[in-house]
Symmetry: D2
Subunit: 378 residues, 4 copies
């Protein structure tokens, strides 16, 4: 959350930004929810200058007429009018965020890449390395397979070293990010039987986007605990890709559920230790997580022994770029239960993209991103 | 839900009940949420006469001052005052419902059994057959182990044949009922690898009872998706017990979550088919479920191909005695995802107890119980 | 809520209904939310036989494919297929419920009236006595003004004496019913300054109907406290009409708000006593309400001094045909605060229509209607 | 919302704050919800240095063990341990926030005032100018009446000019702030009949504080629309005080309702224009509001003609220091409906206190405060 006060600060420091730099950015697809969140983050970011925002469905409208939270943004943002996507192709920008539907980003990205503009994608179009995976999981051939080799997968905690050489940085699925970050330490260590990893995902309604439909109708969606993609969830592909280390590709069995939440994800994963590591204690596992995330600004281990707030909780992460991870060792068996939580629009989408841009642009990785949420949660 | 009109019907038929019979009942522990639900069902049941209701914490209060829904009950119920538990020991009743905390039912039940009064327990005290399981799962020795042999486990769909000879009918855990009924057909058929059954439970706040505490405080509990008993959930013991058929005891790995719901449970279970049954199709599985539940009045298979309401949904089961079950076969692997849903206070507690009493008393099993919920759900 | 058990009872009594009578009914407009509630009530009503259900938008579909709660209805209801409205005009029925949009009922009703079929309207088309009020409040001329004289306004507590001679019984607005029933005793007594009656209405999302739209989109509608019709709410017309007694027509100033609820209404009204009655005490006001509603089965005065449940509460009225009313006298001024609550789909629509049919058909007024809700509320 | 990134910025600018100044602050009462919000704002404020935080109920605990959102705060805040209130009396601070219960602040404040420490109160203890009002509205004599004359009422938009000479700046009630800011322009202009101002307040559960009780128990509080203080609400006193301009003290008739929201208030007020101003148009009223608030950074007029977001909405103000106001003129009568909205913990408490401190300390008024909320709202 950013505001006029911070905007003043921004204004005040325009002539003297922390590192003296301005990144001129465009948002391609600014009328959806990830666009709304990108705009919020851009307003609060000291180094970003918002040059253009596009929308085909709401072209020509002022931003504060599209997004009610921008009523409090500085006038130059409030009054900015969206232009159609095509109008942005020649914009004088250093970087673009692509917040467009799957299938569309692969059509748009090449033009920007060719012009040397940094591309931060939020769609699914560049997440999978294997071109053959797109028809399998997304039902259509990839139309820009040449870019796949130069794309880095957009979870900085795993791939930031690749960003400098990358032509673009992909998005990462919101459920996928939660699952990957929470499971990675145990998988990377090779302690887990990779043949049966179960992930139960719970997700808020904003993940389904800004368009109303019978499934989002309040009398039916309210208080729902609604299974969807019980099998075959598309994020499975990127989770398996990213959790493949030295051994075989793991088999991830995910089921997702819409829950009574607007922003937020919680994943509950069930892992079984290999025979070799069957005796691993909670302390041992803790050490793995500390090693993986001790220095990460945006991954937090949550595991309290007392009180109400013992486990990762998406409600306290709203608007932050933090992924919380936690776990519990089952003493009766070789099981470990792993919990992950984040805000699907921030760390699960727009926040991660800003984090990625910070790295690409050589700014401190945490610039303009928050780690302190709201308590009590709204 | 029952009302004055139905009460009129009841009154009208008092002299000529459907089968000419009246069962005089007592509710031991009437001030909690399961007590509230038992009272609602008793008001609408044509054969039950409410003789006594006890409460130690709210002794001497009129029922309509304890439970706001009873403001609409007939005067003889509204104005009934609770008595302390001890005052009920000599009540002239045919049957008692025990809606008291775990540990207390085992102290109270023997007295009623000795007097030949039918006992419908709602606690955990008589669910496990093995006396040694109580210290393991509930942390204390069983004080009436002699009754365990004569207790039938209270899921009628599995054990109704044992009821006539049973000294008492136990309760069944609400999460356990959902898991057991949804998993039973596949387990009984022996199609499932029993070594790694994963159950992810989601449950409303009423399951934690009527007493307020920091965990139930609205600003913290609202919109929660809160893991609890990630390992070691007590209902695991009865699920494993009840899902043991010809083969070895299955290993059930359950994690539970409090969700933004007051009444309702949804379980998502992940099963893996044995090598032998790896080729089972959805049609094959459907046949198993039809065979198991086709004649059951209170178990419904829900599996739609289109629309918003494709899977079991606890919201439309509120106040009904129905458990909905559904499943999806993963075509990529040997996995089957199984969904179960019910109202934890009705089919998960009070409704099941009334169903059990109907059987014990020789009434039609469905008497006084509902299968049509509310849509749109409140 | 009704169920298989009750259905069994119904079946059992088909040959011997309480009064030996069967009313053959049709539901014109069965695919919306009031249709869903009418169907639920019809299933549980011992004297109703459901002959035909119409829907233009979902013609030809089985009822249990339209409404998920009917999955538990008896087979003859579950499997009933809707027909287009026109196909019902010649149906052999004793009575029809019109659950169609405003403007449409006035086109359909005359045909049924001419055939001597009892019409229970749920729309706004016959609520106002003055034909000139329709263009003013609903923006169109009335097309069947000849029927207005023979229409009784559908709040039985005020108009049941007129029903026997009426050609049809109108619907009553859900917010209007809440306001009228809660305010009537004070207005009828003439104790209130009628020049400035303020009504603040709060209402759940089901009142806006079954069709999704941007205003019903879950991420935006969730947790809303959204003012709408702050001035000019259409129900104002019928409230003013029905609260006109000996004196001048009162001026009712209503503002409505969508709240986080699916089913339910609460109205908070601010009244100011006339100089003559300025000294009226809470006891005096209580006497007025007792006199008005002491014998009414479906209006309940709620005014507790202690506990959490002191005032009318729509959550405990879900699915019941009850309107709760309460009040508080402001000792600092001549003000009285009046609260009303009900379920907009039951007492605010379908339940009231069934109550009206019971009267019209000479059945006990409470037949098939409930007064005991759910606690804890779902 | 502030975070590690911003904290870095803070750290980075510690040696070069915007105006080179550091305000050393203490929070007296840091374990409640307003304390939690003060801490969040303090972490993100570039000029505040948190010296001490007190709590009697949770003395000696680390802040991040009390408040889950502070897990993401910088280490010096996370690890700070609370001390008992008494231990703070000699703290070396420039200013203190008093976030203690009513009655307690009047005991604590004098000690700080005497030492020349700026006091920003959040309690009700210094809101009313007339000492006789405290026994009337709060049931007890004021124990520091000598301080009342030197206290400025803490709504900066009305009283900021008094702050420099004030010994302390009081809190302002959260409902009172919403009502006062939304009604002020019309009242100050003298256009309104002050004899019957009706305010209907809707408020989230966080306003009742951090302690659980039967009224906050989730199964009962969830989805509530619960009237409370229907008459005699304590904030009435300060609303009437602050809306008294040239004419007589207005009569404010308020009723409050708990709603399904954690953070947020919406007030709906019904005003009637005087005969003289009966012809005022929406345009005229708009001019009054523009004049009053056009230059205010934290009051925003919201009045859209189209779309879903036409009126003030507390959901998009969560965590911001903004109060939104809007209105609608009733063309049928002399009525004006006025809407106000804010976050009770921010603009209704902690944010307003920070705004007040900024003024007192001579900082830009908007420092460290946000005007851009979250959309979609969590």
């Amino acid at each position: 959350m950013t505001g006029e006060a911070q905007v003043e600060t921004v204004t005040a420091t325009t002539t003297a930004r922390p590192d003296g730099r301005t990144i001129r950015v465009g948002i391609i697809g600014g009328s959806g929810y990830t666009g709304a969140e990108l705009l919020r983050l851009a307003v609060g970011h000291p180094n970003l200058e918002l040059v253009t925002v596009t929308s085909n469905s709401q072209a020509g409208k002022r931003l504060d007429k599209i997004h009610p939270h921008l009523r409090g943004a500085p006038d130059e943002v409030r009054a900015l009018k969206t232009v159609p996507h095509d109008a942005a192709t020649a914009a004088d920008v250093d970087a673009v965020f692509l917040a467009v539907p799957h299938g569309r980003a692969m059509a748009i990205a090449p033009g920007f890449v060719e012009r040397g503009i940094k591309v931060l994608d939020l769609s699914a179009d560049f997440r999978l390395r294997d071109p053959a995976a797109y028809p399998e999981w997304y039902g259509a051939e990839h139309t820009a397979p040449g870019l796949l080799g130069g794309a880095a997968y957009g979870i900085a905690e795993l791939h930031r070293a690749e960003y400098p050489g990358a032509a673009l940085v992909s998005g990462a699925g919101c459920l996928a990010t939660t699952a990957i970050l929470s499971l990675m330490p145990l998988l990377r260590a090779g302690w887990v039987d990779t043949s049966r990893i179960v992930v139960d995902g719970k997700i808020g309604s904003s993940a389904a986007g800004v368009e109303s439909n019978p499934g989002s109708h309040h009398p039916d969606r309210s208080r729902a605990i609604r299974p969807y993609s019980m099998t075959g969830h598309r994020h499975t592909a990127e989770i398996e890709q990213e959790l493949t280390f030295d051994g075989p590709r793991p088999e991830v069995h995910m089921s997702a559920h819409g829950i009574e939440l607007v922003r937020g994800i919680l994943t509950t994963s069930q892992l079984f230790l290999t025979q070799e590591h069957r005796d691993a204690t909670e302390r041992d596992i803790w050490a793995l997580y500390r090693e993986a995330y001790g220095a990460e600004p945006f991954v937090r281990i949550v595991k309290e022994r007392t009180g109400v707030h013992r486990t990762p909780d998406p409600r306290f992460l709203v608007g932050t770029n933090v992924c919380e991870v936690g776990f519990e060792r089952d003493e009766r068996s070789g099981r470990v239960v792993v919990i992950g939580a984040l805000d699907n629009l921030t760390k699960g989408a727009a926040g991660a993209a800003v984090q990625n841009l910070n790295i690409v642009a050589g700014l401190p990785e945490t610039t303009g991103l928050s780690t302190v949420g709201l308590y009590p949660a709204p």
